[in-house]
């Protein structure tokens, strides 16, 4: 998939999942709690959407333990990053097509 390819992705398009992907696309990885606070969503809502994105192979999570406290780090997979960018390109094409 090239960076310029446009592909509307229904999995990504759901508002919260779009925001999760947008945030993760801007970084290498983000801590679960950091994503939760930045997007202002509950842990259960974030978990639900992350699970959908993981099932699609777009997001992966890594657990890291420090000071007996376990943290979960989220990141986009290679295919997830490509799918997100293709989806954004598709959105831009839709907007441009109406102008």
């Amino acid at each position: 998939m090239t960076a310029d390819e446009e592909r509307f992705d229904a999995v990504i398009h759901a508002p919260n999942r779009l925001r999760i992907c947008a945030l993760l696309d801007a970084v290498e990885a983000a801590e679960f709690g950091g994503v939760q606070s930045r997007l202002d969503v509950s842990a259960s809502v974030l978990s639900k959407h992350v699970a959908v994105l993981m099932d699609a192979g777009y997001v992966e999570q890594r657990r890291a333990t420090r000071d007996t406290r376990q943290r979960v780090w989220l990141s986009l997979t290679r295919s997830g990053r490509a799918a997100y960018r293709a989806h954004v390109a598709a959105l831009r094409a839709i907007v441009a097509g109406a102008e």
Partner: protein, 149 residues
């Protein structure tokens, strides 16, 4: 191109793009002040390696110093990443805030090393690394201000 049969209209697409841009902007974190201070100190003290005694003891001291320096650098970086809860994407950094300071730092260090080699004095190395440390503090302050905006 698969948007000929677009499942949404342009208004919804524009709204989604705005949401995506807003969420992407949330990845911009304000780096803590101690991050830049720690890095500036670590950079400023690097010429200390030149004070190492002659080999073989000097080699041991030098290697030990590198290990300690790298360990401290890793600690600072790790603390920074845990503090902001994000692992920054280097390709996402704004080159306007990265390239000019990097070029200036390279010029300062090159000048310091050159004067040190020509004069044989140690102070140019300390002066150069100190200046780069100060530059890092200035750039850090600027980055914090930009991130807050």
């Amino acid at each position: 191109m698969e948007t000929d049969d677009a499942p949404i209209g342009p208004d919804e697409a524009a709204s989604a793009l705005r949401q995506a841009d807003a969420a992407s902007a949330l990845a911009r974190a304000v780096p803590p002040w101690w991050y830049f201070v720690s890095l500036a100190v670590l950079i400023a003290v690097t010429p200390v390696v030149e004070l190492a005694p002659d080999p073989p003891l000097g080699v041991v001291v030098l290697l030990g110093g590198i290990v300690v320096w790298a360990g401290l650098f890793g600690l600072v970086l790790g603390a920074f990443i845990r503090r902001i809860g994000l692992l920054p994407r280097l390709t996402h950094l704004d080159r306007r805030y990265v390239l000019p300071p990097a070029v200036i730092a390279a010029v300062i260090m090159a000048a310091g090393v050159t004067v040190h080699i020509v004069s044989g004095a140690l102070w140019p190395s300390f002066a150069a690394s100190g200046l780069v440390g100060v530059e890092l503090l200035v750039v850090g302050g600027l980055l914090r201000r930009v991130a807050r905006a």
